[in-house]
């Protein structure tokens, strides 16, 4: 009975909605999903049922129809996805389904358009962690690009991979000490970046200041111990040379995420002691002098005059 009511409702709405190009199936889905709130639990995963149609239309994928990505949904209203994917996509889905928050078929759909990038990600240190180790730790498409239905261009401020958002986005995982410990990677990468000249300029809004991806790569990102990584050994010369023409081996040693060694560490301690002593001396001196100046002005006026006149023309 309920289904029939929904069907009639959908038919009525579809009939009255002005035709907007591709919108046949999309409008059909959005009639319900645009207005649905709440979440359902399906196969152990909590699925958000709402899709904001207006926001979706504005997203970079707004021109697509729902079933372009939700490949398993064939009917309207629909049954759970059947997962009948092509021979090409089926094995990929099995590899990455552990990362799916809702519909795993929609996570493979990216492959249809972004084939090269998709393969890059699968071969990256992030992808390998998902495929080989069956871990949810590795970043996949949506971990960096944001909510599936509302992906915006990387040049837009709303995108998590926008130049001035991407550092924070990487930091959601790489700022975690637990993750660093688990994978034995540099723990204070965020801190050391923010304290570096690159990071400081980036914070101040310098458009040419490099972010994580400029040195480490994006989709194809590799472990720093992987010879294919742009920051592995001598590859750094090339990577740094992209901005610093003439970069050489001694120059590229300047940028690491490692903490300061003993020499800079103790030099800094020494300079801090020097600064504190100089400040202590000057402040004490200035305060005492100010005190004596006030004292002389108010209480020793006469004496000062006498003292001066007695000295006059003595030599």
């Amino acid at each position: 009975m309920q289904k029939v009511v929904i069907l009639i409702f959908i038919c009525l709405v579809v009939f009255f909605i002005p035709d907007s190009g591709n919108a046949d199936t999309k409008a059909g889905c959005l009639v319900c999903h645009n207005n649905m709130g709440g979440k359902i639990e399906y196969q152990g995963k909590v699925i958000d049922l709402n899709v904001d149609a207006e926001k979706f239309e504005k997203s970079v994928h707004g021109f697509l129809s729902c079933t372009d990505c939700h490949l398993g949904f064939k009917e309207n209203p629909h049954l759970p996805p059947e997962g009948a994917l092509s021979k090409e996509l089926q094995p990929i889905m099995e590899k990455i389904s552990i990362k799916a928050k809702a519909d795993p078929t929609a996570m493979v759909a990216c492959y249809n358009c972004h084939t090269q990038i998709y393969n890059d990600v699968l071969g990256s240190v992030h992808g390998k962690n998902i495929v080989d180790k069956k871990s949810t730790d590795g970043a996949f498409c949506l971990d960096c690009h944001g909510t599936a239905h509302y992906i915006t261009k990387s040049t837009e401020k709303s995108s998590p991979v926008y130049q001035f958002n991407v550092v924070e986005t990487c930091g959601t995982c790489h700022g975690s000490p637990e993750l660093a410990k688990k994978y034995n990677i540099e723990a204070k990468v965020m801190k050391s970046y923010m304290e570096s000249f690159h990071g400081k300029k980036h914070i101040l809004g310098h458009k040419r200041a490099p972010t994580c991806v400029n040195c480490h790569g994006a989709h194809e990102v590799k472990s720093k111990d992987d010879p294919a990584s742009p920051v592995f050994g001598k590859n750094k010369i090339n990577t740094c040379g992209g901005c610093h023409k003439g970069a050489n081996e001694k120059f590229v040693a300047a940028i690491t995420h490692q903490e300061a060694g003993p020499i800079p560490h103790y030099a800094e301690k020494g300079l801090i002691i020097l600064t504190i002593s100089v400040i202590a001396f000057t402040v004490t001196h200035v305060l005492l002098e100010a005190y004596s100046d006030i004292r002389d002005t108010f209480f020793r006026k006469k004496k000062e005059v006498e003292h001066e006149s007695s000295e006059e023309y003595t030599s």
Partner: protein
């Protein structure tokens, strides 16, 4: 720098303390110092929200960076010119090193510090007798040398890192760059704080000079002030003059 005849006996007269070349050096020095401090401060504390706003006032991070580099190089050139000029004055005999007039720190300066502190707290009734440069002024002067050595050198390396890398020995690359950044940033903070407390009090805020000592602009000091603040120099000048007259 030499006083004209008889002026030294007349308290209302003025004598030249710094010639125009020294005054120009000083103007370049403090202009570049302020520019460097203003633009550098924003970078040092980039993580504070107000820094982004502050750097925008200076034309954004890129322009602020250019201002910082140009000011830095100008300051170093000013400094080099100063050293060369002093060497020229010494070699041609236009400037002589005398214990009453030299800017070189002497044991007397340490005595003066102690003496002055005793005066401040009221244990001694008279101020120490200073020469041409009080210990406070010597401190001010040599602080620039220290700053140039530490901040100037590290700044040059940071501004031209590729060129600097040719001079870095292989075994030092592991710590050299981090050391540079620390030196530049920490010592700059020291320089700013030092100028704020020391120089500003002594040359601006002190009741007797407020709002500032005008010697930086006119180069002149009244005989009365000279006798009062630099009695030992005054005595030397007086002797020199009477020696000429006889």
């Amino acid at each position: 720098m030499k006083a004209q005849k008889n002026t030294l006996l007349d308290e209302t007269q003025e004598v030249e303390r710094f010639n125009i070349i020294f005054r120009i050096q000083h103007v370049i020095m403090f202009t570049t110092f302020l520019l460097l401090a203003f633009t550098g401060w924003g970078l040092k504390y980039a993580e504070i929200d107000v820094s982004s706003w502050w750097i925008r006032i200076w034309g954004g991070p890129k322009t602020a960076g250019i201002i910082h580099r140009v000011a830095g190089v100008t300051m170093i050139l000013d400094f080099i010119f100063h050293v060369v000029y002093i060497a020229y004055l010494l070699l041609t005999g236009k400037m002589k090193i005398r214990k009453e007039t030299t800017v070189i720190p002497l044991p007397k300066d340490v005595k003066d510090v102690i003496h002055n502190f005793l005066y401040f707290i009221g244990l001694v009734k008279t101020k120490p007798k200073f020469g041409r440069f009080t210990y406070a002024q010597k401190f001010d002067y040599w602080a620039v040398f220290w700053g140039m050595f530490i901040i100037g050198l590290s700044g040059l390396c940071l501004a031209f890192p590729i060129q600097a890398s040719y001079f870095v020995p292989e075994w030092a690359t592991g710590w050299f760059w981090q050391l540079l950044a620390i030196m530049h940033s920490d010592e700059a903070l020291l320089a700013i704080v030092f100028i704020l407390f020391w120089h500003f009090y002594n040359e601006h805020l002190k009741p007797e000079v407020f709002p500032m000592s005008w010697v930086w602009l006119t180069g002149k000091i009244s005989v009365k002030e000279l006798k009062h603040k630099h009695p030992l120099e005054y005595e030397v000048m007086l002797k020199e003059q009477s020696g000429k007259e006889s």
